[in-house]
Amino acid sequence: MQRTFQRLLVFAVAAAAIVAAVGLGGRAAAALPGSAAAGSATLADAIFYVIAAMTVAGAAGVALSRNILYSAIGLLGSLLGAGALYVFLSADFVAVTQLLVYIGGVLVLVLFAVMLTSQIGDVKISNVSFGLPGGVLLFVATAPLLVVVALGTPWKLRSAPRLAETTADIGNAFLKQWLLPFELASLILLATLIGAIVIARKELKAD
């Protein structure tokens, strides 16, 4: 009973902090001289707020949920929201890559690992180590600092950022300017493939 109350309290505090932070961000952005703000919010802004709330709420679920399976589902919401945020930033290719690699690959891997390893019913496995108070303390110590820095710094904004498709440019850049890192990435993926198989396979006992 007390544990439920504690969880509800933490979620309420987290939700209040999120709403306050996003609202504060909006007000500070309107106050910036270079921004095109100060008009009324459009539909795109409303969609952004919904997606941002989903992203942060999913992250909160990952951090605070007691069941590791719920954490995985929170991670799904968070990664999906981050992918949708990329669309707002004119990064369509990154958004689709996020969907394919994170949702299609990493999340499925995580779910496999959860199912293979944890006894879902066993609360002790999903438990936290230094507890919610320590986590909340850590959050209170870091989040305001980062938010204040993000809001207070006079960023040199571009004059008129426009939404444009980038896929062709990214393809050209990968095969011209960034060819060596691109090939190194494929090498790393090959090494990862082999390494993961070697580590995860069942070792045959000699006796």
Binding site: D45, A59, V62, A63, L75, V110, L138, I197, A200
Partner: protein, 103 residues
Amino acid sequence: MAHVSLTHFLVVGALLFCFGMITVATRRNAVGVLMGVELLLNAANVNFVAFNHYVVGGITGQIFALFVIVLAAAEAAVGLAIVLGIFQTFKTIDVRVADVMRE
């Protein structure tokens, strides 16, 4: 409610980072710790793409974000393989229990 600008994305990235850090710091479940690392990498990615769009222009930040995604996928694969190995050895994935490299 103002128009969406750079600071909005920075705040979202900061909150993602903080929740990821809490996850890494407080989880005893190794899979949970890996989830926290994914959140941290995502927070960095949101910042990269946001700065690319609002400050720098071009696509350099997006390319860096793509490399981060590739490395995060590799990290997740190897990390989860290690978790499975730990589970085979110790029959648990509590990170406090796994303190030797061989049984």
